[in-house]
């Protein structure tokens, strides 16, 4: 078994060197594909990180009328918290709202002065609602509108809900991210198919060059695995080299993009590359191995009737 494996590895590497130019072409095409796979992976991470970031900022704010009673607000908060879609409800009292307002406008003399003129606190309390998923906000917003409709007109509680302003922005963002992800997957699939075809032809060329050797192998009763093994191994070697090459090419790119992504998405792509190197290596080199082996197996079954 071991002897057989050793011979297969040996023959696979010889095949690789003998067809150096063809091998080079296959490795380059594979590198392009794996580069796209790697980029999709990294861009996906980037988009996800920014999406998480933005989603975290999204919430529904329910502003109460200033005259609202705290116990009614707490009641509303409890009923909201009972909803399965709601992750968190934060209550901001009138006083807290005022302090926050003053803090925010502390450099704005005019506003502070106007506030002082009023004497009374003009701000209402508010509830900030967070859902687990962006898509769940609609349901929560509907629940709140129902509450608003059903409340006693003489003793109103809810002043306004800011969901419907946010709604459009959230939907647009989700759509953009979805489109980018779909687009990158389509590009990846097209390139994967191209790679399989080109590697297939490369291996076919290699088979053609060594057809004499193959006929002799069959003549002396070589098992199918003995004949196929080296070609499959050759494909795997293409994959490994292309994978490592891809990781090397990605390194300066993420190094250069790192600070920019940090500033824009609050997600440093370079730190991700370094931090998840094992994972990236596994996925990219692994895809290379699978691609190479797949193309070789296809080529052999198609062109080598053993």
């Amino acid at each position: 078994m071991w002897t057989g494996f050793k011979r297969m590895v040996h023959a696979g590497f010889i095949g690789f060197w003998r067809n150096a130019y063809v091998s080079l072409a296959a490795v380059f095409v594979m590198t392009v594909t794996l580069f796209v796979v790697g980029s999709v992976l990294l861009v996906g991470q980037l988009l996800n990180a920014s999406l998480v970031e933005i989603r975290d900022k999204v919430d529904i704010n329910v502003y109460m009328v200033p005259s609202a009673q705290e116990e009614d607000i707490v009641k509303l908060q409890t009923s909201l918290e009972a909803l399965p879609d709601v992750r968190e409800v934060t209550y901001t009292s009138r006083e807290e709202a005022l302090t926050a307002f003053q803090e925010r406008h502390k450099d704005d003399e005019l506003t502070i002065q106007a506030l002082d003129e009023l004497g009374d606190n003009p701000l209402g309390a508010s509830l900030a609602i967070r859902a687990a998923e962006t898509s769940q906000y609609e349901g929560i917003a509907n629940f709140i509108s129902d509450q608003q409709i059903n409340e006693d007109p003489a003793n109103p509680l809810i002043d306004r809900v800011n969901y419907f302003q946010n709604k459009e922005a959230i939907e647009k963002l989700t759509a953009i991210i979805g489109a980018v992800e779909r687009g990158s997957y389509i590009a990846m699939i097209i390139l994967v198919i191209a790679t399989v075809l080109i590697t297939l032809n490369t291996v076919r060329l290699a088979i053609f060059t060594s057809r004499e050797e193959i006929s002799v192998m069959r003549l002396v009763g070589a098992s199918n695995m003995f004949i196929r093994g080296p070609f499959i191994l050759q494909g795997i070697v293409y994959g490994i080299i292309a994978g490592v090459l891809t990781l090397l090419v990605l390194y300066p790119i993420v190094l250069w993009l790192g600070p920019a992504t940090e500033g824009f998405f609050q997600f440093n792509i370079f730190s991700y590359y370094i931090g998840h190197f094992g994972y990236l290596f596994f996925v990219i080199v692994g895809s290379g191995i699978v691609l190479g082996a797949l193309a070789s197996i296809l080529a052999i079954t198609r062109y080598l009737r053993v």
């Binding site: 002897t3 057989g4 011979r7 004499e212 050797e213 006929s215 002799v216 192998m217 069959r218 003549l219 002396v220 009763g221 070589a222 098992s223 199918n224 003995f226």
Partner: protein, 227 residues
């Protein structure tokens, strides 16, 4: 040992008949020569035996095994029982004589120790011990054919099939190759050889099957070349 039962091979839906109702047997340790003009069906007959080609009708048995019912995956195992020698040698040009013979053992999954032991023996049997490190292009035609014979016997097959082994050789090399095949036969291996060469057949004095237009027309146990 080998039994052809009413075997026919027809190409192109009846246009060209390669074999027609061929029936014969080969006993263990026999030396059988098959003679006939080009296109008489000799090579087709040998291809049937190693399951390279399928008969249109009839069956070919190797011992009790129907050769054409062997699953594809098992064919290599079956072919290891048969050593083959061809007119054009089919040696690998980038390998030395030693490597060409060793290659057949590697392909059979034999260990390095077995290879180191058996390859020199096989090359000694064909009288090439002095040229084991030569490449095919450095050898004469007869020497190349002897390397090919060494390769065919190194896995100790039950049968040697030689398709026109002397077709490309001068008379002296022809004589040497036939002597080696005879020696292998004397050591207990069945040999089936096709040939055009009248001199070879007449000198051998063994069984001769004569074919013409896909049919066996003569089968003499101590035959001469008669056509």
């Amino acid at each position: 040992m080998i039994y052809f039962d009413n075997v026919s091979k027809i190409y192109n839906g009846g246009d060209s008949i390669a074999l027609q109702n061929v029936t014969f047997q080969v006993a263990p340790q026999e030396f059988v020569s098959i003679v006939g003009h080009s296109g008489a069906g000799k090579t087709t007959l040998l291809k049937m035996l190693i399951a390279e080609d399928f008969p249109t009708d009839g069956t070919v048995f190797f011992e009790s095994l129907n050769v054409h019912s062997i699953p594809r995956g098992q064919l290599p195992n079956f072919r290891r029982k048969i050593g083959t020698v061809f007119q054009d040698f089919k040696l690998l040009p980038h390998k030395t004589a030693w490597e060409n013979v060793a290659f057949a053992m590697e392909a059979n999954g034999r260990t390095d120790e077995e290879i180191a032991e058996n390859v020199p023996q096989a090359l000694a049997l064909v009288d090439l011990s002095a040229k084991i490190l030569q490449f095919p292009h450095e050898l004469s035609g007869g020497e190349k054919q002897r390397v090919a014979i060494a390769r065919a016997i190194v896995n100790q097959p039950d049968i040697i099939i030689a398709d026109e082994p002397t077709g490309n050789l001068d008379p002296i090399a022809t004589y040497e190759v036939v002597q080696i095949l005879k020696k292998i036969n004397d050591l207990g291996t069945t040999v089936i050889m096709t040939t055009h060469n009248k001199g070879v057949i007449d000198a051998l004095g063994r069984r001769v099957i004569t074919m013409d237009e896909g049919k066996i027309i003569r089968d003499d146990s101590e035959g001469k070349y008669v056509l």
